[in-house]
Amino acid sequence: MAIFGITQFLVALLGVVVGIIFGAIPGMTATMAVAIFLPLTYAYDLNTSIFLLLGLYVGGISGGLIPAILINIPGTPSSITTGFDGHPMAKRGEAERALKIGITASLLGGIFSLVCLWLFTPPLARVAINFSAVEKFLIILFALTIIAALSKGNMIRGVFAGFLGVLVALVGAFGDNNKLRMVPDMFKIDLMGGFELLPVLIGLFAISQMFEQAEIGMRREHGPDGELEKSTRKFSFKDFKGQLVNVIRSSGIGTFVGVLPGVGGSAASLLAYAQTKNFSKKPEELGKGAVEGLVSSESANNGLTGGALIPLLSLGIPGDSTTAVLIGAFMLQGIQVGPLFITQNPDIWNVILIALLLCNILMFVVMFYPIKFISKIINIPPARLYPVIIIMCIVGAYTSRSGNMFDVWSLLLFGIIGYVFSKIGIPSAPFLIGFILGGDLEKYFIDALKGSGGNLGVFFSRPIGWIIWMLILASIAYAVWDNNKAKKAAELA
């Protein structure tokens, strides 16, 4: 099997460019880009789809730095800290330099996380291969509690969203006895297999965004970008002198945060930025246009990309909302992601590594040299793009069971649900992760109980299980501690 040809190259390039566009327009995210392009993967084989989807992912995460630096509005949540130092630099006439530093840092972060993915996934999968239903159940439970631990002062809502996702995943027939639950009579046939993944995720991450943007009138929040024309200081790779430790630390934090399920890029860059400030020799300069801060933010959010793939490919648990969408791509092709993935599909594993490397390099080439041209993207009015996105979404929902109008209506339903969620402060990412893992959670729970004759003690009977229990307890303890800290900080403020 030829894993890499001209088609794959072109598709990756397309993915990167489209991803950058989505990343660079505030109000559109990398997750959205991957979600609405998912239907295209019906047409390609898995191999080619991976190049497209990883291109969208890497491009989407990277594109966010452009508006963050030029107009101080992060294009995606993950570039939230990029503007802290990037925008002050742009204001003193170093826009091009800031952009190029950001792009280079993105590349370094991406490569770092790729190396981590390559090194850590196979051993983790080897451990997970020995998991019985008990451990598989516990690891999913752990995924749900870690969401809570990292929901920053919003712990209960995070878990609530996760379990609500689980409940929605249970709608439909149960595999063991084929009985329906939580299905109104009129939808008996349509909901036999429960809600389809595609309409749920496109609804949650694209349609809900459309409603949010419509609510604020689809306005563009900025004037023309005059900052790029003047240039007081040119970029040079020497700017990275003395940044090695910073790059490694920030990419490392980004990758680690990526591994934790349900935590997005904004947490990665915020954490890395805070640490860079802690370790900095001149912490007072951060926030005023320090190269350090910019490098930290961008290497952290691209570090996320490889990190988020580690639990996906070793345990079958997505590390963030975008990789949750990637699970959809694998499911569509009938491939099970989990501990056996690498041993059963060594070719696809290689494709993923090569595709991720290629997409990072393409991202750099596409953004670095024609940056003056590329940065015009932020002038594309969302009002003109959303209508096109809507029909892409409809295509995506409709094709998820090759032509079922019920799925198109569910698309709208989950669009509204996602919109309401953001209004009442319930995060959508844990909901999606709960939805994806819900079916497995139930299956393993019931299987474990069947094996023990209903005795709940089975969940405490194996040493690997104890380790996961300790991790679960640690994550809950951390959640409570961090939640209290955040509350105290809020009271002081």
Partner: protein, 135 residues
């Protein structure tokens, strides 16, 4: 005591075990959230009510928000009747007009061009080139 740590999985009702547990967890979490909100309100000295919490942004764009919802429903409802291409042409145009406004002839023409180019190209790429079933 030992009975407390047992869940009997009976084949005919096994489909209800996990949904019941999850619903229980959700009710507990939901109550905690409500109590927390209540305590917060009490601390701030205001009474608990849903009214003082604005659901929409202040001065939200009523026409665009409700318009997009109505257009979306109509779009899906008519999709099966009109077919993918025709409904795409109509609704991409309408969404464009809704979002970008009708300030001048040029804006409306842009809406028209976007509608034709995007609908036809998506229809062609997905339906013909990739042979994906479209409405």
């Amino acid at each position: 005591m030992a009975e407390l740590f047992k869940i009997n999985v009976i084949y005919s009702t096994s489909h209800l075990v996990v949904p019941k547990i999850v619903t229980g967890i959700l009710i507990i979490l939901g109550l905690i959230i409500l109590v927390q909100e209540f305590m917060k309100k009490k601390k701030e000295g205001t009474t608990f009510s849903f009214k003082d919490k604005k659901f929409f942004e202040e001065n939200y764009d009523k026409i665009k928000f409700w318009g997009s919802l109505v257009l979306f429903v109509l779009y899906i409802a008519l999709l099966d009747i009109l077919g993918f291409l025709i409904s795409g042409l109509i609704f991409v145009f309408l969404f464009n007009v809704l979002f970008a406004g009708t300030k001048n002839i040029k804006s409306i023409m842009v809406s028209g061009i976007i509608s034709i180019v995007s609908s036809v190209s998506i229809w062609y790429v997905f339906g013909t080139l990739f042979n994906i079933t479209l409405p």
